[in-house]
Structures are given as C-alpha cells and as structure tokens.
Amino acid sequence: MNRRIRVLMAKLGLDIHWRGVYLVSEFLKEAGMEVVYLGNSFPEQIVEAAIEEDADVVGLSTLSGNHMTLGPKVVKLLKEKGMGHVKVFMGGVMPPKDAVKLEAEHGIHKVYLPDTSMETIIEGIKSSMRDS
C-alpha cells in the first residue's frame, strides 16, 4: 500500500492560537501528506472527522492548558470507535512533565513542544507510519 499519509489537524477546544497548527499543516502538505484542517473542535467532533476522513494521523494543537483534559479523551474515543490504529500527535505549549505523561500514560504517540523543527515533526509522522 503506497497511499499518501492522511492527517487530520485540529485545534483543541477553545484555544485561539492558530499560527502553529496552520504552519504544521502547510509543512506537512509540502512534505506530500494529505491534510485536512478541522479548525477548533472538541474530541467527539475530531473522532467523527477522523473516521470520515479515514485519517492515519490526528494532530492536536493546544497552547491554552486543555491538553490534559481533552487530549487523552481523543485517544480514548478513537479506541472506542475501533480507530485505535490512528496515531495521535500533539503540539503546543505545556509543561514538559505533562508531555511525558501524555506519551507514557495516555496513548499520545508524540508531543512536540516549542522549538521543534518542522523536519522533526514530518519525520516523526513518517516513522510512526513505518512502525505500524
């Protein structure tokens, strides 16, 4: 199977900062991925859209402190809907210890904190596809 990686990008909840999520979306497109940007949305809508778009990857962006409440919920709902194979990535501003916890305990595939290069994110997504 050699289809393009399908990525669903979303801003989590009420977070207003769209600069990062827009940039990542643009760079992923440039790297040859198919990207759908959902805008601000809540876990239920994100999971619904992931099913509809047949996404391989869900990218969640948040800079406003809802990462621990809404992030894990997306992973949980995906599993419940039989979409456990979808890799969930997060990016944004949060305390590093929360990022560790999200990866270790809540099934987030990878959290990218500020200063991450676009190259790292692109590589991270590609290699997550190779692993599966």
Partner: protein, 569 residues
C-alpha cells in the same frame, strides 16, 4: 520605497551634503574590502528596509527638522507625546495578572501592587475571552487556565475585593468587542455598587474586532461587521459615560504575534482606527469626542532599531491622519499613546532563562520608543502564564530600565542618529502605503471579510518559519549554537484544578438567587435591540446588573448576529 523625496532640509547645507556624499563614495571605494562592497545591498531590517553598512546625513537629507522631527509634545509628535516624557511621569509598569478563579487573581493583583506595579492588567481564561460560562460544555478543559474565569458580576466583585477602584488604573484584557460590551460593564457596575463615581475610573479595555475575527481562531465566531458594530457601540457609550476610560486598544500586538511584520502591525491597527472614526462620525460624534480616548498596543520584537523606529513613526503617521484628514482640534486627539508588550513569540522553551535577556532588550527598545506603559514578558512564556517568581523578574527588569540605566533622563535619546531617523522615515512611509492599500480594498472591515488578512498572516508565518528552519533567522541556543543536551526546563506552573468546581458552585447559587423574571426580561430586550440601530451597551449593562451571565449574553449575540464560517485551509 522613499522615492518621492520631499523638499526641505535644514539639517545640512548643500555644500556640506556634497562633501559628505563625496567622502562617503571615497570611503566606500577605498576603505572597504571587496567582500564588504559585495555584501552591501544584502542587509535588511525584519520588515525589509535596506540597511547600509554605515548611514550618513545623506540618508536623511530630505528631512526638515522642524517639520519632520521637531520637539516632544509638538507636531508631528515623532519624539514623544508629552514635552517632558518620563521626567514628568515614568512609564506605567503594567504586568498581567490572571489565573484560576477571581479570588486567586485578587491575591496576585495585591502582590503586584505591593511590589511597585502601578497599573493592573487583568487576564481571563479562554471561555471568558470567547464568551462561554465556566459551566458550558465548550469550556471543558480551559476553566481557569491562562487567565481567570469571570461568569458574572459576582466574579468581578471578587476579582477586585479590597482594592480601591477609584485609585488604580485597570486594563481589562477582553480582546473581543462582543465581550467588551459585557465584562467592563461588570467593572463599572461594581464601582457603582461601591459608591465610586464613574468619573474616577481609569483604565482600558481591548475591544478589537480584528482580535475577534482574525487573530484568534474559535469554534464560533461573529461576522466581522457585527463585531465591528459592537466595537463602535462600546467606544461610543464609554466615551459618553466613563470619561477617563480608554474604550479601545487598537491591538497591533496580538496581530503581530499571530503573524505580521512591524509595518503591518501598525498599519492594520491604524486602519481599524480609521474605520472606527468614520463610523462614529457617521453616528454623529465629533472626532474630538472620542479620539482623545483611543489608544494603541504594540509588540516589541527582536529587531531593536526597527522597533524603536516603528514606535516613533507610528506617532507621526497617526498625527498626520488625525489632523489632516479629520481636522482634530483637541491636542489630546493628536497623540498616539500606546502600551507595549514584549514579543512572546520570540521566547523559546529551550534554555528559558535566556528569555530574561531577550525581554530586557525588547523592553529597553519600548522605552527608547517612548511607550506610555509596558509589560515585559516572563521567561517562562513558552511554558505557561507567568509564575510569581517570573512575574517579579519582569517587574524588576522594568525597574532596572527605569531607575538604573538613566535612559529616562532625556527625551527620545536616539533622535538624530542617521540610522534611526532613516528607519523612522522609511517606516512611516511604508505604514502609510499599507494603510492606503487597505483603503483601496474598501477599508478594513471589507478586507477582513474577503479573507485577505488571513492570507496575509498565513503567508507571513510560512516565510518566517522557513527562515527559522533554514537558520537565516538565528535564535541563540535553538537553531544557533545549540547545546548538545536537552536544555528545556521543567517549570512548576500554577494550576488551579479546583476553579471549575468553585465556578460551578457559584453559578448554581447565582441562578438560584437571581430574579428570573428580570433576567428573562433584560435578555429579551437586548435580543430585540440587536436588530435596531441603537447602541447595545446600556442594555447589556442592565442585563449584567441583573445577574445575567456572560455566556447568556454572548449566546444571544451568536444567535442574533449569526456565525462567520471562515475556512482557513
């Protein structure tokens, strides 16, 4: 860009200029190395102004001192809005305060005031900013994060418990017009309850439709024209009722953080001021009724001299517009007064203590640019809203600039620098050209509804990020001289997980104790008035006084004005 050079020039005589230009050519041809000559033309300021290896009087030969530069407190106000500037009154040390519940913020405000802050700047959590009650399902995960939750007048009362509203100056960071018509009203109503006359209240609310429609994204967003109408309602009503309150802060800051250069930042904010002035005049106000109360908000980024030039140029551009186009007579109308915040977007998470140095340099530029008040970002910007320790360092940084460096002893100390005057003149021309471009699109409201501003921001961001990725824009410790090991810190952030529970309990009590008949009646009146030409402020204020919640009022606006479904990608 400055092709059409103006007549004038009293700085240097013709003969002197000829000698200066000749000396420069000789120096260029004989004193420089080939490599220097080859790279001439390859240096630009952040916003694209060409920078020479050395600047001379020849670069500003078209400037007339009296007409183009002048003295502080005199047209064109390039050098500062007041004659004595910081000798008369130091810039206000205005730090942000807001996290958790209003009761938590109250303690933080008292802490900042006790440590020398002279104004307060209150922040809200995202549900409040976007107009949802803490108990709304949309608010999940964001209650009390990044700012305080304010659902009703009760919360505003708690926010300012035991603080004399008659003596402080308060900046209420409401961002959106749709909440600026409600939240500052809570503040005014609390003052009224405490017997403080409205004429004693000093402060600012942000109230900018660009914030509502372009800078921040949101699940539900009002149409630009609806948001703009509310923006003008707020200004009109406050100008007539709260004489010392600045009813709008034209917000270049957040726009810059979202993605524009220094030229776009100032030009778009001034274009909003133009649209606003036109609308208020259409409503029958005179320019001098409201222009003295308009204030601006700039972002001081890394390009040190360009940022200083931006501050100076912005005053001149504003003066020309307000005097030539609107014929303002009141001297206060002519003054562009602005608050500055240093650029959060420049502060990385890697080696965060370095951000103390970055912010101090940006803060210094703000003071050299003649700001009226200042917020210096804290080093933990890329982790959370500032911790108490980080907030104190920011205050101390301001005090170091104010009291230790001596930069406040004389007005506009960089004036007369060939480079600074050249940059200032270039900035002023570029800002004016950008304003003209927006007018040619039919004005700012039209330009926004066409999607132009979103595209402008997006293009800028892509280019900016590519410069970081390629290393063209060096960031020490990040893409330049990066250390081998991981240098991010674990910062202990403030968390107020109990905020939600507290707000929920308070909301339950509020809904039980308030007079349901009155609530219904005032919401109904406000709903009906949305479809009239009347100013909505007094109706929103009555609703607030009768314990309607922020979320109830905002939901009504969303229903009556409809939602703008703008597709970003």
């Amino acid at each position: 860009m400055s092709t059409a050079k103006k007549e004038g020039g009293c700085l240097f005589s013709e003969a002197q200029l000829q000698q200066i230009e000749k000396d420069f050519q000789d120096w260029f041809n004989n004193s420089l190395r080939d490599s220097d000559r080859q790279t001439e033309g390859a240096y630009f300021s952040h916003s694209g102004i060409p920078i020479k290896l050395i600047h001379t009087p020849a670069d500003i030969k078209h400037l007339d001192y009296t007409r183009d530069i002048g003295l502080s407190g005199q047209p064109p106000f390039l050098r500062g809005v007041y004659p004595n500037m910081y000798r008369g009154r130091p810039f206000t040390v205005r730090q942000l305060a807001g996290l958790g519940a209003p009761e938590d913020c109250n303690l933080r405000i008292k802490y900042l005031l006790d440590h020398g802050a002279t104004g307060v700047n209150i922040l809200f959590d995202l549900p409040t900013i976007r107009g949802y009650d803490s108990t709304d399902p949309e608010a999940e995960g964001n209650v009390g994060a990044c700012g305080a939750a304010v659902d009703s007048i009760w919360d505003m009362d708690a926010y300012f418990a035991d603080i004399d509203l008659g003596t402080i100056s308060t900046s209420i960071v409401t961002h959106l017009p749709s909440t600026s018509i409600v939240i500052p009203g809570m503040y005014f109503a609390v003052a009224e309850q405490r017997g403080i006359p409205w004429k004693n209240l000093a402060g600012t609310c942000q109230n900018d439709f660009i914030m509502e429609t372009c800078v921040g994204s949101a699940p539900e967003m009002l149409w630009p024209r609806a948001s703009f109408r509310l923006q003008c309602d707020v200004i009109e009503w406050i100008c007539k009722n709260i004489p010392r309150w600045n009813p709008i802060s034209f917000n270049g800051y957040n726009l810059r953080e979202a993605g524009t250069d220094a030229v776009g930042e100032v030009a778009i904010a001034i274009s909003n001021a133009i649209a606003t002035a036109d609308e208020l005049i259409r409503r029958g106000m005179r320019i001098d009724d409201f222009a003295p109360r308009m204030s601006f908000f700039w972002d001081l980024h890394n390009d040190f001299f360009e940022e200083i030039a931006k501050c100076r140029a912005s005053r001149k551009v504003w003066y020309k517009i307000i005097s030539e186009r609107y014929g303002a007579q009141n001297k206060k109308s002519l003054l562009m007064r602005f608050h500055v915040q240093t650029a959060g977007v420049t502060l990385p998470a890697t080696e965060p203590l370095n951000n103390i140095a970055r912010s101090a340099i940006q803060g210094l530029a703000a003071v050299l640019g003649g700001c009226q008040s200042l917020h210096i970002d804290s080093y933990d910007e890329a982790y959370s809203a500032p911790t108490e320790e980080a907030a104190l360092i920011s205050i101390r940084t301001q005090q170091i600039i104010q009291a230790e460096t001596g930069v406040c002893n004389t007005v506009d100390p960089l004036a007369g620098s060939y480079y600074i005057e050249y940059l200032t003149d270039e900035m002023a021309e570029r800002i004016a050209a950008y304003i003209k471009k927006i007018e040619e699109m039919g004005g700012l409201v039209e330009a926004v509804e066409s999607g132009w501003l979103h595209r402008e921001i997006s293009n800028y961001n892509t280019a900016y990020q590519k410069k970081i990725e390629s290393g063209e824009m060096p960031i020490a410790g990040v893409n330049f001289m990066r250390a081998e090991e991981d240098r991010t810190h674990d910062i202990e952030v403030f968390e107020y997980p109990e905020t939600y529970t507290r707000q929920k309990a308070k909301m339950k009590r509020l809904k039980k104790e308030r007079n349901q008949q009155k609530v219904k009646m005032h919401l109904k009146i406000l709903r009906e008035k949305c479809h009239s030409d009347e100013n909505l402020y007094p109706y929103a204020l009555e609703a607030v006084k009768n314990l309607c919640t922020l979320g109830e009022i905002e939901e009504l606006f969303r229903e009556e004005f409809g939602l703008w479904n703008f597709q970003l990608l």
